[in-house]
Symmetry: C2
Subunit: 245 residues, 2 copies
Amino acid sequence: MSEVNLPIASFSPLYEQIKAMILASLQAGEWLPGEVIPSEMELAARYAVSQGTVRKAIDELAAQNLLVRRQGKGTFVATHQEDDWQYRFLRLAPDSGEKFHLISQFLACEQTKATDYVANLLKLKAGDPVIYIDRVQTFAGQPVVFEEIWLPGSRFKGLDLNTLNDWHGPVYALYESQYATHMVRAEEKIKAVSADEGLANHLQVIIGAPLLSVERVAFTYGNKPVEIRHARYDTSEQHYENRLN
Amino acid sequence: MSEVNLPIASFSPLYEQIKAMILASLQAGEWLPGEVIPSEMELAARYAVSQGTVRKAIDELAAQNLLVRRQGKGTFVATHQEDDWQYRFLRLAPDSGEKFHLISQFLACEQTKATDYVANLLKLKAGDPVIYIDRVQTFAGQPVVFEEIWLPGSRFKGLDLNTLNDWHGPVYALYESQYATHMVRAEEKIKAVSADEGLANHLQVIIGAPLLSVERVAFTYGNKPVEIRHARYDTSEQHYENRLN
DNA sequence: TAGTGGTCTAGACCACGGG
DNA sequence: CCGTGGTCTAGACCACTAC
């Protein structure tokens, strides 16, 4: 048998390396959500490559919604605090086509310990400190969403019911401004379930009514899971929208 | 008041025009699903632009899954007949994580007339000829999906139950090979519903069991809607997966 | 007017696939 | 070996924003 060439990492283009370095800066907080990053020329100089190579790196990060390009102004770090990003991860919409404005009422925010299920998804150890939150969201006076949230206690120290109730705006914007945690991506698993007594009360439907169960895991930079959300939607007057490409 | 410059189409980059021309060729059937399109150099010559401009056009079409690039081989027209594309639009997956293999049993394939609902979504006139199909799909012997499909009669002339039952493979592959119709994109609206008697029979669940209702409209080139699909999933042992970016 | 991102070009060289 | 797509560069010019 002849010798075989076994490249471990079989070729990494320059722009991938630039991408990785920009990502590292984002993760390290060198440029915060909403801020401008250096211009393409500056980055090209910093990394000693051509502008075209930086462009390609930025293009891909922008395609993943990590950066936002604005012609004439610069390239910005994506943020959930912008108006048009407020509902970036919300796929629920009214059947009527109206504009959707949900009002949030937080019910609880407690320190607990991670169950196996939660620990597994958040990559913690069972028993690690975890924050549990739940809330109801209403649209036009009707309760539409009941949501339970689990957060790693270490990252979200001090989060309590008062903080949540004083906050007006999306929860992801709060995570960003108070806990330096920007959500980049999420995965959802959806099922149809029947309302039990508790859900029936929260959503003002009859026991046994069909509800949409949406389990979400949300990730920050570096594919780090930092939030679990288990929502139940009353879909009698609204639906979950999805686009397949 | 001074004169104002009012550009109707406010600037269209060259690569957008190239994109439009490539799209026109795809729509016209100049290159069929699965075939190679001309090389970047050839296209650059044909359109009298540089290779880089053609590249950018192709890059965007590939990002939309209309074309597939294969280094060393060429650029191909996307097709639902490739193995890895068989389930491109299927978001249902077993909770267990097993590989999913659905077996399809067609129940009906009939000529009917478009209701207002169907006509509206397919951009037909009410009463236009429409083909109605329904089927049950099973996984490991258990019925999991009940699906109703509506197609415009004009485009799918001659489609009948025998054709469907003789066909082994995804329906979208059949549309492609027999009716020159490639599906490019789809939109789904999802709700939770209760099983009525008919659904309970098809899916072997009790009446009132919660089911996932998935209404899909699928589009060919040029944003033309050509299929409506209303599926009901039994999500007791499987779930609908979605990724948010 | 200066600075940013956006487009377009031409040319060199690399990686991959298949004869 | 050649042809394909993939990477990288350098430079010109355009479009948008803000001062």
